[in-house]
Symmetry: C2
Subunit: 149 residues, 2 copies
């Protein structure tokens, strides 16, 4: 079993790892209904030159091919409010809870997730905010590229 603080801590480790790789410091972890970690990952725009490997999609990718039932009751932990693509990825697989580190540096598809019946929890984590603020200050152009601005 895993509580929300433990789930977010894994996502934050992923975010820090990406920062240290020179990448975009957003991380995620997908945890099954029974508390098993299915997969974890981070944004790989810089590392792979990829526009689709975000924190949440990387966590899904690293979870591998799964039948629909494996996602039932699962929680996606993410350090940052999910963008439209990652919002849609959570909806596609019927992920039931999305736990978000912070939404002050970027506000994504939280309202749409709730509208579609997903439970959304924002933890307002100071460590997540500080890491993103540092990154946005250091690499504003890279950050804009990632969010299509």
């Amino acid at each position: 079993m895993m509580d929300d603080a433990a789930g977010l801590a894994i996502a934050f480790e992923e975010a820090k790892a990406s920062y240290e790789e020179g990448g975009i410091p957003i991380g995620a972890a997908l945890v099954a209904a029974d508390g098993t970690l299915l997969g974890r990952g981070h944004n790989m725009r810089v590392q792979l030159g990829s526009p689709i490997h975000h924190g949440e999609t990387s966590a899904l990718l690293n979870s591998g091919r799964l039948p629909a039932g494996a996602y039932r009751g699962s929680t996606m932990y993410t350090t940052l409010s999910p963008c439209d693509m990652c919002t849609g990825a959570c909806l596609l697989y019927g992920i039931e809870r999305v736990v978000i580190g912070e939404n002050t540096t970027f506000l994504g598809g939280e309202a749409y997730l709730r509208q579609r019946g997903v439970e959304v929890i924002v933890l307002d984590d100071g460590g997540c905010v500080a890491l993103m603020e540092r990154f946005i200050r250091e690499k504003p152009k890279l950050w804009n590229e990632d969010i299509g601005v």
Copy 2:
């Protein structure tokens, strides 16, 4: 320059290639405002064991890292109505038109795309329908896995 029939023809070539690889026959092509092909790709669930490489996301991936301006006025051609993830991916990058081969075997996020200001065109292409119907008849379990059912 490329008209919609030519754009869809590329997406359909990708879908057929995936079918021949034993994969899910959905393909896509991303075309810039000036008619340049930015990238093309197909679903890679089987080929890569990936839940995030759909037709549209593969076309985005194969387009590489681009600044936001490169997507301005672009069109995403896809053989099948886009799932929630691919709908969100188009929204993230501000793709302005989505041209869809068919939406009779699966209806994705078309209404949400329109609500968010994207032009959506459904070509009702008989070749796209026939290929998907054949695939769904041959591999119903694989298809359900791909759409989280």
